[in-house]
């Protein structure tokens, strides 16, 4: 039962890589977007807010198809990236990371935004009277104080990325060793006769990964909160 086969290992490693890359790339972008939504008023803000949340509410297959149209080999952005930067997403693990990143983005942004909104602006004012220009106020006051939310967002995003299925399989298909993540491997296994045991193994693995991520985030959040309240 607990004898994990090489194919399963590959899927597990690929999932971890895809989710890690997706989270690491999405986090700086997520922090920037969260800050804009929390601290700035601009024209079209509610539309931008809705657009970010879209992957949460439209069917994942639609997101995957839109990604294929945009970032596929013949897609507007995809063709340009392939020709000019040599970056190809279609049917590659990088495409899986892109799909997971897009799907995880709303979940990543939300806690960060809430925690930035919760940072006392009077502390930011105090920092500016002490000579800190806006970006240093952000780096030395806002961001450290919002850290628990950033970590929570990263973990939530990571967990979502690990579990992503619909958009990924639509965009980059289900190629073992390249785009077959834990979720798509489970999907393939339960369609195969005698695949049940292997599927169950991967189910357990995915639960363990998700649980570890949640426990880790709780622990980080507690540490960070303690640090902020001067204990």
């Amino acid at each position: 039962m607990f004898d994990i086969s090489p194919t399963e290992w590959t899927a597990i490693q690929l999932s971890l890589r895809v989710a890690t890359v997706a989270t690491l790339v999405a986090t700086p972008l997520g922090i920037a977007v969260a800050w804009l939504l929390a601290r700035r008023d601009f024209w079209g803000k509610s539309v931008a807010d809705a657009a970010i949340h879209l992957p949460l509410v439209i069917p994942p297959v639609v997101t995957g198809y839109l990604l294929l149209l945009t970032f596929g080999r013949r897609g507007l952005v995809g063709a340009w990236l392939a020709d000019h930067l040599g970056i190809v997403f279609a049917f590659r693990w990088t495409g899986a990371a892109l799909a997971c990143g897009v799907m995880a983005f709303p979940l990543l942004v939300r806690p960060i935004r809430l925690s930035i909104e919760a940072v006392d602006r009077r502390l930011e004012q105090a920092a500016s009277t002490l000579g800190a220009p806006p970006w240093r106020v952000f780096a030395t006051v806002t961001l450290p104080l919002a850290l628990p939310g950033v970590l929570a967002g990263m973990v939530l995003g990571f967990a979502k990325a690990i579990g992503e299925f619909g958009a990924t399989i639509t965009f980059v298909s289900n190629i073992p060793g390249e785009t077959q993540t834990i979720s798509s491997a489970i999907y393939s296994l339960i369609q195969t006769p005698d695949g049940d045991t292997a599927a169950l193994r991967l189910v357990i693995v995915s639960i363990v990964i998700a649980m570890s991520a949640l426990i880790a985030s709780e622990w980080f959040a507690r540490r960070a909160t303690q640090r902020l309240h001067g204990n």
Partner: protein, 224 residues
Amino acid sequence: MLRVDVTKKLGEFSIEASFTSEGRVTGLFGASGAGKTSLINMIAGLLKPDRGIIAIDAETLDDTSARLHVPPHRRRIGYVFQDARLFPHLNVGQNLDYGRRMNRLADDPAQLKRVTELLDISHLMDRRPGKLSGGERQRVALGRALLSKPRLLLLDEPLGSLDEGRKVEILPYLVRLRDEANVPMVYVSHDAAELRQLATQIVMLRGGRVTALGGVKVLPGAPA
């Protein structure tokens, strides 16, 4: 010299204030709601006047006719808030060092020693703000503002959040600051007795207007 001549509308309330001051400690006196905090927020650059001029010595910080507004971080004006506003994620030492780091000033251990001794906070350096008493917090806030080497120090009711006993504890530090720190101050208070002990010049504010200017004699309830 501080020169202020501004108007600002804040909802129903409006400020139309004009004064110049050369004193070491300018006392901004008025009841709550007189516009004192809005006025010094304008001096600090946290609030933009609708119209007018704010200048320190020869340098203009706000001039609406020239569309000039120097942002707070370039004003070199220290601000001690009523609620201290220490950074909760930094210890006392790091709070004190913040202004120096942001202004990229050279390390100045002698000045640090002088200020921490003046305010009696050298033993608190490793503590977090959450572990300080109200009076200690206010003293650290004073030190933090001073150590950013401001050319003007704004104090917004720095004793306002403290009880009587604590006020008596802090007041001597403020007197020492006035006599030793060599930084001109604008001291906001609704307490005439406090200002009588500290201020060298008074700007009296009521309903957003300056109603009296002069020495501490203009304060109400002066002893005969």
